[in-house]
Amino acid sequence: MTLTDREEEILEALWGELVEEKNQSCDISVLKDDEVIKKLADLDYVEIKNNQIKLTNKGKDEAKNCVRRHRLAERLFVDVLDIKKGLVHEASCKFEHLLHKGLDENVCILLGHPKTCPHGRPIPEGNCCKDAKRIPKKLIMLLSELELDKKATISHLETQDKVMLQKIIAIGALPNTGIKLIQKFPSYVFQIGKSQFAIDKELASCIYVRII
C-alpha cells in the first residue's frame, strides 16, 4: 500500500537521524500519541520501545527510497528546472511523492545518476545506478570514438550515401567483422583481418563498432 505524504516525511526524518547521523534511536516522547507514528508501527516500518523509535529493515528500505526521491526531486529542480535554492526544499517536498515506481529511476537516468543532492547530502543508490556502474559506458560507438589498439567488431554502417557505402563495402568493413583502430590522426587507419586501410573522417563517421 502507498504511504501518505506525512508518513513518508517521518520516514525521511528518521533516515536522517538514524542512518545518516548514526544515532542508535530517537526520542519521540513529544509525538508518542501521534496517529501517524502508530500506523507506521502497525505497518512494521518502525519499532517503539520506551519512547525510543527505531527503523525496522523494512522501514529502512522504504525510508531510503523516500530520501532518494526527495533528493532526486531537488536535483531535478536545481539542475533542470532552474529553481532558486531557497524554494527547492519546499517544491521537492511536494514533488517527491509523485516519483513512484520507476519514475524515480527515469529521473535518475535523465540526471545521469547524481550522487549528492544540491545541499551536498548523499542520494542513496537505486537499482538503475548499480546497473549503470556494471555495464560499460557505451557498447556501441563510432569508430572514431574507439580506443586505439582495442579489439572491436563492426556493428553497423550508417549512411544513405550510396557512393560512400560502396567505398566502405569495397574495403570489407562490414558488420560482424573484427576491427582494430591503429591511428586517428591525420587519417583513420585500421586493421581488418590481415589488411590495413586508411580512410578520412567522413567515411569513418559512417562506421559503428561494438567493443568485445
Partner: protein
C-alpha cells in the same frame, strides 16, 4: 557459383530477382541474374542499357526494384554485401587455417611513418636525401657536370663540330647540327647529358619508394591538407610523379575518381610542380644559395596551396573522399628497382628524344626565318618587367618546347654570370610556374578537352608572370641580397 540471397522472411531478394529476370527479354553480355542484381543496386549504366533494349518494360522493372527496396531499411547494395560476406566467411571457416602472427619490426616502422610526429620528419628525410641529395645534387650536379661539362663540352661537341666543318660545306646546315641550338650540340646534349641522368636518378628513387609501400602512407599523411585544396590523399601519387615528369603525371590523374579532382590536379601539375629535369636544373642553379632556395620553395609551395584552394572553391562538385589500402612495408628488391627504372627511363627517353631533336630543328628554322627573333622580342618586355636580362626571354620561349629546356637555358645564362641572386629566384619561380612544356600542353588538352586545357594554359601564362613580377618587386624593394 551463385549465392542464395535471403533477406527478410516475407520477402527474399531471390523473389525480386526471379520477377525481374522474367521481365528481361533481350540478351546481355552478362547473365540476366547479374543484370538483375546490378539493377537492384541502382547501377546507372546498366539501367541505361536495359532502358534501351527493353523499352516499356523498364517501368515494370522499376516497380519491382522499388518494391524490393521497401522491404529493406538499408540500401540493397549493403544487404547484398552482407549476405556475400556471410557466404565468404562460411567458406573461409571450412578451408583456411590462420596462424597467429607475431608483431614484426616492420609494423613498428609502419606506425612511425604514419604518425605525423614521426612521419613528417621521415617524409622530410626522404625528400632531402632522395630528391635533394641524390637526384638534385648527385644526379643533376655531379653526374650532369661530368657528362655535360667534361664529356660533351670537352670531347664530343668539339669532335662533332670538327667533323661537321669537314663534311658539310654550307654554314647554315652546319648550324642545324652543331650550331648554338644544333641538333647535336643542343638537342642531343640536353637529352643525353642533362635529362637522361636526372630522370634516371629520379626513377631510381621513385621505384624504391614505390616498392617499399611508402606511397599509401604518404597519401594518408597528407590527405587532410590535400582536402583543403579539393584533392584527396589519393592525388599524392600523381603529384609525386609530377616531380618526375608532369606529362606522365597528368596521364596518371585518370586514377582520380572525380572530374573535379582531375581538373584541380592537372592545373597544379601544370603550374606549381616542377618536373625532375627542371628541378635538377633549379637545384643546380640555387643549390649553392640556401636562402634563395628556401624563398623559391616557399613561394612555389604557397602558390600550390593557394591556387589549389581557390580552384577548389570555384569548381563545383562533391568533396573528395579518401580510402586506401595500406600494404605492409617491404624491402624493395634491387632487381625489381633496376627493371622498373630501366623500363621507365627507356619509355621516357624514346618519347622525349624526338621532341628534343624536333625542338632543335624548330629553333633552327625559327632562327633562320627570324620568327624566333620576333617572338623572343615579344617576350623581352615581360621578361624585363620581372627584372631579368633580355637574354632570358630565349630561355622562356624555348622552355615551351620542353619545360626543362628553358631551365637548362637559364643554367647557361647563370654560367655566363648574367644573373644575380634575386634574378635567379625570380626566374626560377617564373619558370616553375610558366606554361607547361609542349608535351604537357598537348596532354592537358588530350585529357581535359580543348576548353579546359587551353583555359589552364592561358591562366598559367598570365599568372606566372604576375607572380614573378610581384616577387621581383618585393625582393627589390626590401633590398634582399641573395
Amino acid at each position: 557459383m551463385a549465392i542464395d540471397y535471403k533477406g527478410p522472411v516475407e520477402y527474399s531478394i531471390e523473389l525480386a530477382i526471379e520477377k525481374i529476370c522474367e521481365l528481361l527479354k533481350a540478351s546481355y553480355f552478362i547473365s540476366k541474374r547479374s543484370v538483375t542484381l546490378l539493377l537492384l543496386q541502382d547501377d546507372e549504366e546498366i539501367k541505361e542499357m536495359v532502358r534501351k533494349s527493353e523499352g516499356e518494360a523498364i517501368n515494370k522493372i522499376d516497380e519491382v526494384v522499388k518494391e524490393a527496396k521497401s522491404h529493406f531499411a538499408n540500401p540493397i547494395t549493403y544487404e547484398l554485401a552482407l549476405e556475400r560476406q556471410n557466404e565468404v566467411r562460411l567458406i573461409i571457416e571450412k578451408t583456411v587455417n590462420i596462424k597467429k602472427e607475431v608483431l614484426r619490426a616492420s609494423e613498428r616502422l609502419s606506425q612511425l611513418t604514419m604518425n605525423p610526429i614521426t612521419g613528417i620528419p621521415i617524409l622530410l628525410f626522404v625528400l632531402y636525401w632522395g630528391l635533394y641529395k641524390f637526384v638534385g645534387q648527385f644526379g643533376a650536379g655531379t653526374v650532369v657536370n661530368f657528362l655535360e661539362g667534361t664529356l660533351f663540352d670537352k670531347y664530343l661537341s668539339p669532335f662533332f663540330i670538327k667533323i661537321a666543318a669537314h663534311i658539310i660545306p654550307w654554314k647554315i646546315l652546319q648550324e642545324l647540327f652543331v650550331g648554338e641550338y644544333g641538333v647535336i650540340t643542343l638537342g642531343i646534349r640536353y637529352a643525353v647529358a642533362l635529362i637522361l641522368p636526372i630522370v634516371t636518378f629520379f626513377f631510381i628513387v621513385f621505384s624504391i619508394i614505390e616498392d617499399t609501400g611508402y606511397l599509401p602512407r604518404l597519401a594518408m599523411l597528407i590527405d587532410r591538407i590535400f582536402k583543403k585544396i579539393g584533392l584527396s590523399g589519393r592525388a599524392a601519387i600523381p603529384v609525386v610523379l609530377g616531380f618526375g615528369c608532369a606529362t606522365m603525371a597528368t596521364m596518371v590523374t585518370r586514377t582520380l575518381p572525380t572530374k573535379r579532382e582531375r581538373i584541380i590536379a592537372t592545373m597544379l601539375l601544370s603550374l606549381a610542380i616542377p618536373c625532375s629535369a627542371q628541378m635538377g636544373v633549379i637545384l643546380a642553379l640555387l643549390g649553392g644559395n640556401p636562402k634563395a632556395m628556401l624563398i623559391w620553395a616557399g613561394i612555389v609551395g604557397l602558390i600550390f596551396l593557394f591556387v589549389g584552394y581557390l580552384t577548389s572553391k570555384i569548381l563545383p562538385g562533391e568533396r573528395p573522399s579518401f580510402y586506401m589500402e595500406v600494404p605492409p612495408l617491404r624491402m624493395p628488391s634491387v632487381s625489381n628497382v633496376i627493371t622498373k627504372t630501366f623500363a621507365r627511363v627507356k619509355w621516357y627517353f624514346i618519347e622525349i628524344l624526338p621532341l628534343f631533336l624536333l625542338a632543335s630543328i624548330f629553333i633552327w628554322l625559327g632562327m633562320l626565318l627570324h620568327i624566333f627573333d620576333f617572338l623572343v622580342g615579344l617576350l623581352k618586355k615581360p621578361v624585363e618587367l620581372i627584372g631579368l636580362p633580355p637574354e632570358a626571354s630565349t630561355a622562356f620561349l624555348f622552355g615551351f618546347f620542353r619545360r626543362d629546356y628553358g631551365a637548362a637555358g637559364l643554367y647557361d645564362l647563370n654560367k655566363q654570370g648574367l644573373l644575380n641572386g634575386t634574378q635567379l629566384v625570380v626566374s626560377c619561380v617564373a619558370l616553375t610556374l610558366f606554361l607547361p612544356c609542349i608535351a604537357q600542353f598537348l596532354m592537358n588538352i588530350k585529357e581535359r578537352g580543348w576548353k579546359t586545357g587551353l583555359g589552364i594554359s592561358a591562366f598559367i601564362l598570365f599568372f606566372s608572370f604576375s607572380v614573378a613580377y610581384v616577387v621581383n618587386f618585393i625582393l627589390t624593394r626590401l633590398g634582399v641580397i641573395l
